[in-house]
Symmetry: C2
Subunit: 447 residues, 2 copies
């Protein structure tokens, strides 16, 4: 892609120039890139470069760049602008894009920005703002084109021409009755190749699936993926047409949802180039949580201090049991959290999953227990220790897979995200189980 | 969404019926669902139910269901069919969909399936098969509509009507010259509202970005995301138009790419409901790898057996140092692998990242070293041990973040996926560093 290549070359040039500092050239080059590339460049830059790039950006494209940035960066840049600036920068954006950005602003600024807009735009934005950000309503655009069944295609065509332009990502317009009840959709490609003397009622798609305005955005994304949609009508509880959702907004949801599982499991909430102070804080929480659980595990080891003092080999081998349980638990946890995010796990198949994971835990437990037993008995010439570590391993892998299944279900049951803290919780369980089962058996049989 | 709700109710009913077994009813209900829902249902079912559902499926929709299934399941079902069946089932699919499925079949069957197709379809498929599956060429569809600059819009319109229907997800057609050189695109919505006496040359978008046929599919996905594309032309090295890519195929790539980071880091290659035997094998590999590294870490503890025998408290505290280093390393690793997958990390910003991670490792190291030191000195009334664990903690967190940065860079440098095995490698490094630094310092200062 030559245009793509050119923009990559430019980005690379700008990156080099940022350090050498040929201001005017940087500015000219940067502003010749398309907004999405600029946004990607900003996200791939350390904090100081981000600020600099933002400052030399032309006001006219700032709005377009903003909508391509991540939530965190949108917030950061918006915080530094006053209402008038925000209104100026976002003037050229579509309703759904603007609504998306407005949700990142402080309450006080929102009111000011709204009041500086035309009545028509203001009403549109307020309609979208009335719905939660992560619902179909928060995702939708209200600039829908709607026609009636008894219109001829010729009338529709003339109406569209009068509009001057058709919104982007529009592959269909909607059919409603006098009361704005949603009836179906009219595919524009079908309109293009149909006899213009026909009526809308002759060629429209009756009951083309509509999205409920309060539907969760992840479900919306799934509907788009499953049915290969480009755009879809949004209706309220009374099946009145209230807006439309287009694929470009849904793609962002798909990307974010897929990333969400990873974020939950790793406990990371920061972007790649977040400031050092932000990164330190965000990681510290997770490390602190882990420290608490590490002390809990240590306190269980402490119970068996006497045993370890007599057979030091136990201290050498005990991390192996804990570590293997942790890996088995994390594997199952990842499968569960991913499956739950994809909407695959429910009442009807959970029993099968529990049975499979139990079998997986037992089989791998036995397999690696045998290996561990042989290595330990060869290494320390002690078959009793070998048997003890083997049994502890089987038990810990079983506990591991079961924690991996039940912890996310429990977290969901108390209305938390199934993956959040999951890794820390399951590894604490397997650490404690690993140490206690191994050292406990040793206390009983070795002393 | 009432249609959606109905299909969810049906799915739930089918799931219940599968156990009670009212065959005819299940069959009727299942076949009334849309193919994407059936595919989702199959993916959310244990292996035996999957087989049963596939058997009672109507032949006519099997092809559509196939394209919505994951690669693994496509392969599995295709393995059980002969060439004639495959040809029958896939008869109604679009070129790119068919090409996608054909790539999952055994070589011998491919030849048979191709020879049972019409010459025209065969040529189309072979064109797509000539390119790697994960390239723009493997993703594209060859049924493009191309027009010339000197055509009037009226001629274009009549040509489109003659075609009878316009392929799905088509928002633009392409403009070429006599030699099939790609010149630009004609937006169908623009065509819809333009004066038909104009020429293509008057309203087409010159040099609308084209995708190079050998571009990697992840880059294609990024181009679609950045520019909010619905479809894009594909050109070869000589800028000849060879096909087009549509957003519905790209959405799958986006989902798979986002999932890829999670898969690499967790080492899991299976689907949620994979067979027990498959699950056991796939997890065993990772557990075995972890066992080797656990033994390596244990062998380092073994060096300090004498020290532990004299001060058993060391055995109680040593897992804390190792565990904290492991968490810090995994955090950095996740940030790096995700950033590399998003194409954000390169020559110009890696130095900044290394500096930030070093600062993050040091700061969190010092913070938690102080906490650990105080707790340890209060718990065991031993300030020397407290100082030793504090220093070991700082050192291990520093080593952790640096492994997190450099291991993925190293893996990439030797042409491996940056995340594959990353978790196991970095935690081995932090386990060994944690045990050796803590027990080593203890041997020097405590004995």
């Amino acid at each position: 892609m030559s245009a793509e290549e050119t923009s990559l070359n430019k980005i690379s040039y700008i990156k080099d120039s940022l350090s050498s500092g040929t201001y005017l050239q940087i500015s000219r080059m940067l502003n010749s890139l398309n907004p999405a590339d600029i946004a990607h460049f900003i996200e791939s830059s350390p904090p100081k470069d981000r600020e600099f790039v933002w400052q030399i950006l032309n006001k006219e494209i700032e709005g377009e760049v903003l909508i391509h940035l991540s939530d965190t960066l949108q917030k950061q840049f918006l915080k530094e602008m006053d209402a008038a600036e925000v209104a100026e920068v976002t003037g050229s954006l579509a309703t759904d894009e603007l609504a998306d950005i407005i949700q990142r602003m402080p309450e006080a600024v929102i009111e000011e920005v709204l009041s500086s807009m035309s009545i028509q735009n203001r009403i549109r934005i307020e309609e979208v703002l009335a719905y939660p950000e992560d619902s179909a309503g928060g995702l939708m655009n209200t600039d829908v084109i709607a026609v009636r069944k008894n219109h001829t295609l010729d009338v529709v065509m003339r109406y569209l021409r009068m509009q001057g332009s058709i919104p982007e990502s529009t592959n269909k317009i909607f059919v409603v009755n006098r009361k704005n009840d949603y009836l179906g959709s009219l595919n524009l490609n079908k309109l293009l190749i149909s006899d213009l003397s026909l009526h809308v009622g002759d060629i429209y798609e009756k009951n083309d699936k509509a999205i409920m305005v309060n539907m969760n955005d992840s479900e919306v994304a799934r509907a788009f993926e499953q049915d290969d949609l480009i755009s879809a009508p949004v209706v309220d509880d009374h099946r009145k047409l209230v807006g439309r959702i287009t694929i470009d907004d849904v793609v962002d949801v798909i990307r974010e949802d897929a990333d969400e599982t990873l974020r939950q499991l790793s406990g990371l909430e920061e972007d790649t180039f977040s400031k050092t102070t932000v990164a330190i804080k965000s990681r510290a929480l997770w490390l602190g949580l882990n420290l608490i659980t590490a002390f809990i595990a240590a306190s269980f080891i402490d119970i068996f201090k006497e045993t370890i003092a007599q057979v030091v080999t136990l201290a050498v081998l005990m991390p192996i049991v804990a570590s293997m349980g942790g890996v088995a638990a994390t594997q199952t946890l990842t499968i569960m959290v991913r499956g739950m995010a994809l909407g695959q796990i429910g009442r009807t198949n959970i029993a099968w999953l529990i049975r499979r994971e139990t079998l997986v835990g037992l089989s791998n437990g036995i397999l690696w227990a045998i290996v561990v037993g042989f290595v330990a008995s060869w290494w320390f010439q002690n078959t009793l220790i070998a048997q003890i570590i083997a049994f502890a391993m089987i038990f810990n892998l079983l506990v591991g897979v079961l924690s991996g299944v039940f912890i996310p279900l429990l977290l969901k049951a108390i209305n938390l995200d199934p993956g959040v803290g999951g890794t820390v919780i399951v590894t604490t369980i397997t650490d404690v189980t690993g140490f206690v089962s191994f050292l406990g058996l040793a206390s009983i049989f070795l002393l």
